[in-house]
């Protein structure tokens, strides 16, 4: 059978600039490459010499969709360095802020980026003409998430109230009561979104992923937990670098990550869900099972349903946090800088986000290391392309190209975040 190359020169409906190249020889996939050519952004170097207090606001600028994740990993790492543990209502508010980000990020991806693949449209705008109710619902869900962030964070994008030790300002109880009414609608809309996405047609593409995610003793993970894997890894965040290596590959401006002992792995909604099903709220568990997911999901195309379940969980969790909220006496605790190393990992919408900082005695940042989820997932995405695109080789080049794009979008890559990330290129006659 002839050789050919399929190229997606500029991946669309993903964040940032990347491409895919599939090389097909004698009817088999010879190679699959996810190419990331978004220019390097140098945030880690930019942080050197800045005050520890600036890290949450500087790192938030890495992404307009998941700034909260960067702020959370940054403040937790700084607090780890400075010996501070945030508890009570302030800890709850951080989880609430994270709920807002999961809701807005997932709602956007489900509705505008991923659903068009399943319904046969080129864009969310095209899909809106014949699926107006679903798009209105998705955008209103996104807006509900935005409202959480605007209330807690001061504005919808790049919130400004998060600080090491707590918040610069916390909301009044009555403000959260107003938000709760909106979130009750959002919870119903999320449940409807689970049902909607569960009705899509999914190719039979299961894979025995090595999943990596945070696990907390009692909570579905946002801000804290141990790093666990589906094959037995169970370490504190502080040991991330002892178990996970980052390497440079020529085709990507984002570093590839792998477990030193076991190789590539997947982080993100599929991993989080499969490693933490029992920690989802009862309503989210019931919706997931009704949607046919099971307690573990290994079909990347079904990640759209998992994201919808996570939106439902986030709405439910947000309502639980609001119901028990009592205004704290102080929005933040006092801090004394010191020479120290601080490490934290939190669960960004796209997966595990690791930060490490080394501080001088006056709190100046000497060294920063940031490992975003998309960088960690590059090898797993390439493996998806290698394994699953072979199933689609009988399709026309155009349909094959679309399937390859969908294989990438299944993981909602955020290329801008990952660079130091997408176009599809298939090769052969």
């Amino acid at each position: 059978m002839a050789n050919r190359t399929i190229r997606v020169e500029q991946l669309t409906r993903v964040e940032g600039e990347g491409a895919v190249k599939l090389e097909i020889r004698d009817g088999r996939i010879h190679s699959a490459q996810l190419r990331i050519f978004e220019p390097p952004r140098f945030f880690e170097a930019l942080l050197r010499g800045r005050a520890y207090t600036e890290a949450p606001d500087i790192t938030a600028r890495i992404c307009g969709i998941c700034p909260v994740a960067y702020q959370m990993s940054a403040v937790h790492a700084m607090e780890n360095a400075l010996g501070i543990e945030v508890s009570g209502p302030v800890r709850d508010l951080r989880r609430l802020l994270y709920c807002g980000e999961w809701i807005e990020s997932h709602a956007l991806h489900i509705t505008m980026l991923h659903a068009p693949d399943f319904l046969g449209f080129d864009s969310g705008i095209d899909m809106a003409r014949s699926h107006a109710d679903a798009v209105r619902r998705g955008l209103a869900l996104k807006q509900a998430g935005n409202e959480i962030i605007a209330l807690l964070g001061g504005r919808e994008i790049h919130p400004v109230t998060v600080r090491v030790g707590g918040f610069y300002r916390v909301p009044r109880k009555r403000q959260l009561a107003v938000l709760a009414e909106r979130l009750k609608w959002a919870r119903e809309a999320a449940l409807e979104t689970v049902r909607w996405t569960a009705g899509f047609e999914f190719p039979a593409c299961d894979r025995d992923y090595r999943f990596v995610a945070l696990r907390h003793p009692a909570e579905y993970p946002f801000n804290e937990g141990r790093i666990v894997s589906s094959d037995g890894l169970d370490i504190p965040s502080a040991e991330f670098e002892a178990h996970i290596d980052e390497t440079q590959v020529k085709r990507s401006t984002a570093l590839h990550a792998q477990l030193r002992a076991a190789g590539p792995y997947l982080t993100g909604p599929l991993a989080r869900y499969s490693l933490n099903f029992a920690r989802l709220s009862p309503v989210a568990q019931a919706a997931a099972l009704s949607a046919g997911l099971g307690r573990r999901c290994t079909n990347p195309f079904r990640s759209i349903v998992v994201r919808a379940v996570e939106v439902l969980h986030a709405c439910d969790e947000a309502l639980r946090i609001i119901a028990r909220y009592e205004e704290p006496d102080e929005p933040a605790c006092a801090i004394e800088p010191r020479a120290a190393m601080g490490i934290a990992a939190t669960e960004a919408p796209r997966g595990l986000l690791y930060h490490r900082y080394r501080l001088e005695a006056d709190g100046t940042i000497l060294e920063a290391r940031i490992v975003p989820p998309t960088a960690q997932n590059q090898a797993a995405i390439e493996e998806d392309l290698r394994r699953f695109s072979e199933e689609f080789l009988t399709l026309s080049p155009e349909r094959l190209r679309r399937r390859c794009e969908q294989l990438v979008r299944n993981h909602d890559p955020c290329i801008s975040c990952a660079t130091h990330f997408l176009r599809l290129e298939l090769t052969g006659p």
Binding site: T12, I125, L139, N146, E156
Partner: protein, 146 residues
Amino acid sequence: MVIGLGNAGRGDDAAGRTCVAALRGRLADEIELIESDGEPAALLGLLARASEACLIDACVSGAQPGTVRRFDVAGHALPALAAIDSTHGLGLSEALELARALGMLPARCVVYAIEGLCYDPGAPLTAPVRAAVTAVAARIVRASAR
């Protein structure tokens, strides 16, 4: 509803918001004046409750700085001044088309696009854009009186 779009801290990108600020007290009370960062879901929410909308935004097209162009977008799409492939970066033209597809676009909807010159963080409006903002505000006052 008059919506001024942009980032107040990025030079000429503040043109739309500055225009809305200049209109305060000069229009009938029932005309809402909104400053927006252009976040698409929020913008769609605004458009959905407007019977008539006028949007002002800065643009980059290569024209002379301060050039003002008026687009009637109720019947026609806004010309895409720059192709955007990522919904993470959904622009005004995409937000308007999404509103049209969802039946949320007001029956009368115009966009004033003001060509900017400098978008540096913290920079003030440049002189040609400041003059254009004054001119657009005057046009909106005259149009609202008709």
